[in-house]
């Protein structure tokens, strides 16, 4: 279908942002919001990566004096907290923000202003942690801060508060984002995209969002209890007063374990999209993949205790959680086999995005295997808090999430910018990162088995750990170099890359139907879908549905299972209120580190901001329901 230019002009007038700074502050365009998320998170990944390199430098030789113990504590705490709370999870949400409406052929998210609010609040969390770092109030107790160590007696000052409040920020932001993604996927699918015809990517994002909604409240609760213990002397975690320090660990890991799957499940969505496109065939075992993701989503809530085997739970309890942890290898394995079968039976080719998938499979399988090892309570007692865990967690997080993310970045880069990234430099970066990573992190397994603890700032010379530590540092440096090449490639290609056209890879899903980069209104018409791979219809134009307004912001709402069009819905336009509300919430969060009065007093500006946000913007109806016109 070839839309006529006057229609496109009208759509553009309706959907574009006001120009300049005001447009920047008020935008509710999901693509701009997602881009902000992505740029911020990548910058933080760079900073946290530099911290990591610094730590590896410190550990490269025994008795090194580059870092003091305190600085080392701060470094791994800042590195871990940043990478998990401010990089991985937000990046996955941002990819959903960017892609979900495009893949649905929709004009925006279900709640455009909530999306803007989510970003500003996330940004508040970023500033909280890193500004605090700049003024030397860096959290120093690791990425999970157990009481009593983090309680009022042993953590004077505000370091622990900063960590806990950074969590509150990012979790509120994540909840806002998840609600938005889930509502969009469930209620804004184009006609014909029944649940059975929904791409795996959308399933993955939907399930990750639902997992977020169930798990994040636990960690917000537990960090709020910690703050209450510290600020107003409650006794949640005070054993002597009948509180329970282990409660903190339970609630934290009830969130913490699903968290790693909230990072991994979206990655399986990227992998599915990339594998399908480059294998030139519908995914092998589509339903198996969807069911596997669903069961991972469910099982993930039943394993948290494997982070606490050393706490001393009853034997039977440990056995139960060992079994549950091992069970998750089954759906994860099924997924891997489905992808391999797709790759093996398709007309597959291997440009950079596909290479990342191969890197992902190899690395993630190793991480999965070390995971099954640590899932055994007996073995875990030996391995916990050693470098083996550092190896395992980086294999699953980097191999299982960051590699697919890099693949996704290369795959969708042309859609976002209209230009292709250099294949040659893409391959150089791939080899450096995957090679350097494995060189750097594999020896850590051996270090752990030889007894080197994690979170130590140095070690004596005669332990026999020198050689492996040097290799680990060298590998890390190579991987970080590769990361810089990757970033340079992305930057240069932004200006110099070959123009890509709308659909450079021959993709299977709807985001490839629109121009690259997509215009403010995303797509000129609402597509109708009759298969899992709507773009693979022999080159015929996509059938379209008409009737959505073009002179005002309007979106189509459809039914949950069958995607039957239900009604047209007004979509909110640019507004400053999300930013104002986020500022009010940030002020309250920050002030509540210092005084409990911040909560009642800080609630007033929040109430005012929300009132402004929800102020009715259409005239009061002249006829009430009872007097409806005959």
């Amino acid at each position: 279908m070839k839309p006529d230019p006057s229609l496109l002009e009208q759509l553009d007038r309706t959907w574009r942002d006001p120009p300049g700074l005001w447009g920047f502050l008020t935008t509710v365009d999901h693509k701009r919001i997602a881009a902000r998320y992505i740029v911020t998170a990548l910058l933080l990944m760079f900073l946290a990566g530099m911290l990591a390199l610094d730590m590896r430098w410190q550990l490269s030789v025994p008795e090194n004096t580059r870092m003091t113990p305190q600085l080392f504590n701060e470094s791994f705490s800042l590195h871990g907290s940043t990478m998990l709370f401010l990089v991985s999870v937000p990046l996955m949400e941002a990819m959903a923000f960017w892609l979900v409406p495009l893949m649905l052929g929709a004009r925006n998210m279900a709640f455009p202003r909530l999306g803007a609010f989510s970003f500003w609040l996330y940004f508040g969390g970023v500033l909280t942690l890193w500004v605090a770092h700049a003024i030397d109030i860096t959290p120093d107790l690791g990425w999970f801060e157990y009481p009593p160590l983090s309680g009022p007696a042993y953590s004077p000052g505000h370091r622990a508060d900063i960590w806990a409040q950074m969590i509150t920020f990012t979790e509120v932001a994540a909840l806002a984002a998840s609600v938005n993604v889930a509502a969009t996927i469930l209620k804004m699918r184009p006609p014909g995209m029944t649940l059975a015809r929904m791409p795996v990517f959308l399933w993955a994002m939907l399930i990750a969002s639902i997992m977020t909604m169930f798990s994040m409240p636990a960690v917000m609760l537990v960090t709020s209890m910690l703050i209450a213990d510290r600020l107003v002397s409650t006794q949640f975690f005070s054993v002597a007063a009948g509180g329970d320090a282990v409660l903190f660990q339970h609630l934290f890991w009830f969130f913490g374990h699903p968290e790693v799957y909230i990072i991994f499940v979206p990655a399986t969505g990227f992998v599915s999209s990339i594998v399908e496109t480059f294998s030139r065939r519908v995914l092998y075992g589509h339903s198996v993949l969807v069911l596997a993701i669903l069961s991972i989503g469910a099982l993930a809530f039943g394993l948290w205790v494997h982070h606490m085997f050393a706490v001393g739970l009853p034997r039977l309890g440990n056995d139960f959680y060992t079994a549950a942890s091992m069970a998750i290898a089954v759906p994860a394995g099924l997924q891997i086999f489905c992808w391999l079968a797709t790759i093996g039976t398709g007309r597959t080719w291997f440009p950079t995005p596909m290479l990342w998938i191969l890197g992902f499979v190899a690395t993630f399988v190793i991480g999965g295997l070390s995971g099954v090892m640590t899932a055994s309570a007996a073995l875990d007692l030996q391995l916990t808090d050693t470098y083996f865990i550092v190896a395992h967690l980086h294999y699953v997080l980097i191999g299982g999430a960051i590699f697919p993310l890099f693949g996704a970045f290369c795959y969708w880069y042309p859609k976002a910018t209209g230009r292709l990234m250099s294949e040659r430099w893409g391959k150089v970066a791939f080899v450096l990162i995957v090679g350097g990573f494995n060189l750097g992190f594999f020896p850590m397994h051996l270090l752990g088995l030889e007894g080197m603890p994690r979170r130590v700032y140095t070690y004596p010379a005669h332990m026999g750990w020198d050689m492996l530590n040097q290799i680990a540092t060298a590998g890390s440096a190579i991987a970080v170099t590769g990361g810089l090449v990757f970033a340079a490639n992305a930057l240069c290609s932004y200006w110099r890359g070959k123009p890509s056209g709308a659909d450079p890879w021959g993709g299977s899903t709807l985001e490839w139907a629109t121009a690259s980069p997509p215009p403010a209104y995303n797509i000129p018409f609402t597509p109708r879908v009759d298969s899992l791979t709507p773009m693979w219809n022999g080159g015929a134009p996509l059938p379209a549905l008409d009737g959505i307004a073009i002179d005002t912001r309007e979106v189509l709402v459809s039914s949950v299972t069958d995607a039957q069009p239900l009604y047209r819905q007004k979509s909110a336009g640019p507004s400053i209120w999300p930013l104002v509300a986020a500022l009010a919430v940030s002020a309250m969060f920050i002030a509540s580190i210092f005084t409990p009065w911040a909560i009642p007093i800080g609630a007033l500006p929040i109430g005012a901001a929300l009132t402004g946000w929800f102020w009715p913007n259409r005239p009061r109806a002249k006829i009430g329901a009872l007097e409806a016109a005959p």
Partner: protein, 154 residues
Amino acid sequence: MRVRGATILAPVALLALAACTNEARTLGPSLPQTAPAGNADPRVPAYQANLYQVAQGGRYFMWYGCSGCHDDSARGAANLSDGRWRRGGGFADVYRAIARHRPAPAYEATVPVEQLWQLTAYVRDLPAHHPEKRRRVTLDQEGEPQGSQWSGPQ
């Protein structure tokens, strides 16, 4: 050079000067091997204005059994949180009151110098501590060997 957010957030670094050095934590062997040479000894701020050192002093306050006599119900001169000092409120004054404590023992015979510095900083900080908070901290430290429960080094 340490990689810091300051590189991107330069203006904020200004705040650093004003605000938050009281959070600094130095672990490992440190300065004072001798008693303060008067209330204006230049080493004083590193203890008195540092939350970590004050908190360490709080732990020793329990360990050495000071809290047994100087609890919230202590009266008169033994009340350390009323802001009135019989033996003077300067750093060196309080240090001396502990080192040559009356009633006996004189703690300089048993307590290492650095810990005396930390104890002094804590004692001088006490008037600013909320009783609720002090009780809460005590609860967390219940498990540590203190006063009469002390059964020698472990």
